[in-house]
Symmetry: C2
Subunit: 281 residues, 2 copies
Amino acid sequence: MELVQRNTCFAGEQRIYQLDSSSLKTATKFGIFLPEVALQGQACPALFYLAGLTCTEETFAIKAHAQRLAAQLGLILISPDTSPRGEQVAQGDHWDIGQGAGFYINATEQPWAEHYQMERFLTEELYSLVQAEFPVQKGAIGIFGHSMGGHGALTLALKHPDLFKSVSAFAPICAPSQCPWGEKAFSQYLGSDRQQWLSHDATALVQTKGALFKAILIDQGIDDQFYSQLNPMLFQQACEQVGQPLELREHAGYDHGYYFIQSFMDDHLQFHAVQLQTAVH
Amino acid sequence: MELVQRNTCFAGEQRIYQLDSSSLKTATKFGIFLPEVALQGQACPALFYLAGLTCTEETFAIKAHAQRLAAQLGLILISPDTSPRGEQVAQGDHWDIGQGAGFYINATEQPWAEHYQMERFLTEELYSLVQAEFPVQKGAIGIFGHSMGGHGALTLALKHPDLFKSVSAFAPICAPSQCPWGEKAFSQYLGSDRQQWLSHDATALVQTKGALFKAILIDQGIDDQFYSQLNPMLFQQACEQVGQPLELREHAGYDHGYYFIQSFMDDHLQFHAVQLQTAVH
């Protein structure tokens, strides 16, 4: 693990690291915000933030405006890249597939399976690494994300509730099996058997897994230009069916971008801080 | 004036406009954040933010993390581009001159004089335009900026105290006549007569103009990689000589970038809100 960038920020540090990933079989980068108390060695709760299509490990740190409150709350923020990258890694034909569009799953199909193992990378390799290298409070790890990364946060939390004790999302792709982005990605990464897709679809997963979390928070802009890809109502209905508490907030005027995300970032950090405190104590 | 982007943000709107500028003799863009109360028509104090070398009208909105508190304080934030741009506009040989590096002055030399009239554009054209088009509270306009834009903020405030009632800066170029960036830009834009440079040099200007402001706030990172270009001590000495109150805060660990700026943004917005309230009432 090599430190490639470090900037003091709100008395903590915003860093970028690079590592050779065994899961992804390529070099990959992640961002991490360490609040001042973490730099002093105090164990802190940590959040993984999964970004959306076309984003990188830097997007969150620059655009999401999370460091101010994370510094106050003493939260570590981890922001991985959205896919494996590099010349030897398969490219997609468009920005909604391939590099920048890993969908946080393990691909089984060619040409993707060799490198596109984002679920394994996140839940095994990076999850272990940050616990070994940074003062992460045991058991106090949550996950959130945006759009494709909202799908990633919801599905990884539902698949791995032992790893992630709190979960929230901004404008997540709630039912990828039922929208063009998801259908394209899943058919290429996972193949044509739609039954396989359901174990990576938040709406289907919550029906199978039942109520795993005391609360889930989702913020959604009503003027989101990609609303038809997101299907928050399907996820809400599925949560209601199994008794999974969900706070789905819809906001007039807001669109899909980071001006929307920054507007509600503080609420998500507060939400995770409370959920993680409850989970640990 | 054409609206080219609009995003709801903290119940207000972050917008980008384009206009054909008579001063710059080319199209130019500016960003503006309108808090919710401004959208409702209430007159609000306004701040011009001048960005640094290589930046555009978008940099501030994305990276400076100012909208949350501006929304709370009811501040309008205006972020112009850093130079004229376009195919017909002279290019520089490097990122420290020409497009992206207008230095907020009126060029007198060739090939710059035709388009590089940033001081006139800001203090006449854009200043009038925002007052005509948006609910700006009369007399309640301040200015701040970063690096080259910190130079711009300090010098435009000292040259036009009738226009700008409050001024602050992040890591400003305090004495451009005495640093490589300034010497290169001023010799190209203004010619070789160094006497002419002094009317665009904050350290020289404050000595001429005397104490014009009740307070000036400057934040400076001690680990700023461009510290040798900035000379905050020269400006501090000049302020002391003429009795201009200055709060120069130096911060260990912080560098020249937006992770530094975002860390102290709230302090600057609070500073301007107080100064402008005092100036108006």
